[in-house]
């Protein structure tokens, strides 16, 4: 079996198509493990993983923690809110202090773009990026693509539109990289103020009319409006956003074909999608969450395999 070409999962940009295929193949095996009555394997029983969350997260953190525990790793959790970061400690010092306690692998979420890459260059541990500012969120992109593959058989040749706040979204950027590497066509759709100026350089289509975008696509990934990252008002009101870029059941039913609806969560029900869309049979939102654990198990397993043993 091949190994990953990278030592850290900093972003999708650094992964090869073969890496992604290997992660998916391994995730298939872990998915079958997760469907057993005893959902645990002993592979990582001599590995310690630190989950460092310098930014709030519920599902990503829970998903990583479950993935780690299903692999029998020892887990320590850290959140910035209750740490010495508040007392002025630098990132490298914080992490080195944790690594001094013999931690093998670090899963980190950080508000600054590039934090994971910076860390991977300065500390002696495997790093998994669980989101760095508006830059990348590689495991989310992997589980999104994995869910598309599961639902539609293949990602290659599929048309995927990412709707919403593209500028502030790490999910969007990682998804664009991942889907393109797997041979899908990608479009972004949202208010002009929330589409980055240089998006064309990524070779994606841009559409400002939601109906046209949805008529074009096979899969729509509806992103959350990230009000917490907005320093100014990018659109007049949430109500207007919902009227122009929100998806309700009536709209979904009026399309000429049945599209797959995704959402990385957390959903603002009634803003980007309504409850009846989120709960419809076209939505694979809960499959995404389920697959998240299997995909993260695969990533952790494949990276742990690269940790040298000290015999």
């Amino acid at each position: 079996m091949a190994s990953l070409s990278v030592d850290h999962l900093v972003g999708i940009k650094e992964l090869s198509k073969e890496d992604i295929a290997l992660i998916f193949q391994t995730a298939d095996n872990f998915k079958s493990v997760l469907n057993r009555s005893i959902k645990k394997v002993p592979s990582l029983r001599d590995i310690t993983i630190a989950n460092l969350f310098f930014e709030n997260s519920t599902r990503t953190r829970l998903s990583f923690e479950l993935a780690e525990k299903r692999l029998s790793a020892d887990v320590v959790n850290f959140s910035a809110a209750s740490s010495s970061v508040k007392k002025g400690e630098t990132l490298i010092d914080t992490v080195n202090n944790i690594l001094a306690m013999k931690v093998d692998l670090v899963v980190m979420r950080h508000p600054n773009p590039g934090a994971a890459k910076f860390l991977s260059e300065h500390v002696d541990s495997k790093i998994v990026n669980a989101g760095d500012g508006a830059h990348e969120h590689p495991t989310q992109a992997l589980l999104d693509a994995y869910s598309i593959r599961e639902k539609l058989g293949d990602v290659s040749g599929k048309k995927v539109v990412i709707v919403g706040d593209i500028s502030h979204s790490r999910v969007a950027l990682s998804n664009i990289f991942c889907l393109q590497k797997l041979g899908a066509e990608v479009m972004v759709c949202g208010p002009t103020t929330l589409i980055p100026k240089y998006i064309h350089e990524l070779d994606v289509k841009v559409e400002y009319d939601l109906r046209k975008a949805l008529e074009w696509c096979d899969v729509a990934n509806m992103l959350r409006i990230q009000l917490e990252r907005m320093d100014v008002n990018y659109f007049p009101s949430l109500r207007e956003y919902t009227m122009l870029f929100g998806l309700d059941k009536e709209f979904l039913n009026s399309l000429s074909k049945k599209i797959v609806v995704m959402h990385p969560g957390p959903i603002n029900r009634g803003v980007e999608i309504t409850s009846d869309v989120a709960d419809s049979d076209q939505a694979i939102i809960l499959d995404q969450v389920e697959n998240g654990v299997a995909v993260r198990m695969a990533v952790l397993y494949l990276l742990a395999e690269k940790i040298k043993r000290e015999d």
Partner: protein, 180 residues
Amino acid sequence: MGEKRILNDKELDLTVNRLCWQLIENHSDFSETVLVGLQPRGYQLAKKIQSKLMELAPVSSILLGSLDITFFRDDFRRREEPKAPNQTDISFLVEEKNVVFIDDVLYTGRSIRAGMDAINSFGRPKQIELLVLIDRRFSRELPIEPKYVGKTVDAIDTEKVVVEWDQNIDHKGQVSLIRE
């Protein structure tokens, strides 16, 4: 590199036949017994044994599953090349069942240990028996011995026992000892 034939086509067929009769002797109607082939090559053998048992014994069905032990191995991070996982397909519970593990070659016993660990995810078997086509004796690293043995082979560490099955014709195949 040299190659020595251990079992030819005909001998292999006879051996598999004998193993089947031994299983029938101990498990009669297989109502409380399930076969579990260890992935990848043990499962190939298990499928052949299952179909032969159906010919020989007066039974309508024999449960067969495949078990992958990759995530249960004790040499994770110790190998040069990582092992690729295979599919585990066990659609029944092994709770209170007699489980027959089937593998092609028994060497150090470590795969079987991992298998015993892995099968626990599907229940607590009443007992586990081990059937192997080839037993490489004197090379065990764990206290594991098979109950049903096709052929016992003395081989040194630099030698490899290879079981090959004909893709097209059922029950045809051969077993060789390869010296590297």
